[in-house]
């Protein structure tokens, strides 16, 4: 069963991250690296990507002739995807356990709450898209 683990944050969360000290950032990156390595070593790793910052995000709709109309204005409450991990596991519980590990990634000392990770099963086939 494949699950996607998503880290989301508002623009204010991203701005907060930009203010972390170098030591805090290094500790966080070191954790993420060893976390990914562990997932690869245990054979559950499928894919992982980090996304560019929300200030570069665009919302696109089709105009009347199908031309793209882009918009870069989002509500303050908008949650932006920061990055994701796709894992292939035996049970939802295993996905939740991996997400809990991710949630415990180290941050600044004053951080009081662990980061929530959204866990969703992905569709097993792309048959609808003919791929």
């Amino acid at each position: 069963m494949k699950y996607i683990l998503m880290m989301n944050g508002k623009k204010s969360d991203f701005e907060g991250y930009a203010r972390w000290s170098k030591e805090d950032l290094q500790a966080n990156v070191a954790f993420m690296r060893s976390f990914s390595k562990e997932l690869k070593d245990s054979g559950v790793f499928v894919a992982s990507e980090g996304l560019g910052w929300p200030n570069e995000a665009k919302l696109v709709r089709a105009g009347s002739k199908g031309e793209p109309i882009t918009d870069g204005v989002f509500p303050e409450s908008k949650e932006f995807l920061a990055g994701y991990w796709i894992v292939d596991v035996e049970s939802p519980e295993q996905a939740y356990a991996i997400a809990a590990r991710l949630s415990q990634a180290p941050g600044p000392e004053e951080k009081t709450e662990n980061m929530p990770v959204e866990v969703r099963q992905v569709l097993s086939s792309h048959s609808d898209l003919g791929l």
């Binding site: 996304l51 199908g66 793209p68 882009t70 991990w85 099963q121 992905v122 898209l129």
Partner: protein, 130 residues
């Protein structure tokens, strides 16, 4: 340049999709399938993935002892990822054009859904994940 095109919706939007007729759904998926095939042929296709329904979504936090705490209650306004396309394109404009095509896919009665598609570039150096 790799971009991810994200299609998201609130639970209300997903319930609306359930009311589409089968022929409207088929026409919609046929258009999306055609776009995906074109991207494969042009060499811009990297990946696409659909997600299961929002009602199965869980939010997970880790307690101090590492125990996962799951929560399935979300605000009504929460936007759930429905699916994504990853493309490798020469310019941002090309990514926007592909997103426009997806947004123009037909909905009920053949009228374009005009769904907003969020377009994001991948981090230049995904240091945190490599």
């Amino acid at each position: 340049m790799k971009y991810i095109l994200l299609m998201s919706s609130t639970k209300t939007g997903v319930s609306g999709y359930h009311q589409w007729s089968q022929s409207d759904r088929d026409a919609h998926m046929q258009t999306l399938g055609g776009i995906a095939k074109e991207l494969v042929d042009s060499g811009e296709f990297v990946a696409t993935q659909g997600l299961t329904e929002p009602k199965e979504a869980k939010m997970v936090r880790g307690e101090k002892n590492g125990v996962p705490v799951t929560d399935g209650i979300f605000p009504e306004s929460k936007e759930f990822l429905l699916g994504y396309w990853i493309v490798d394109v020469a310019t941002p404009e090309r990514a926007f054009a592909i997103a426009g095509r997806i947004s123009a896919a037909p909905g009920p009665g053949g009228i374009p859904t005009n769904m907003p598609i969020e377009v994001r570039q991948f981090a230049e150096r995904p240091a945190a994940t490599n």
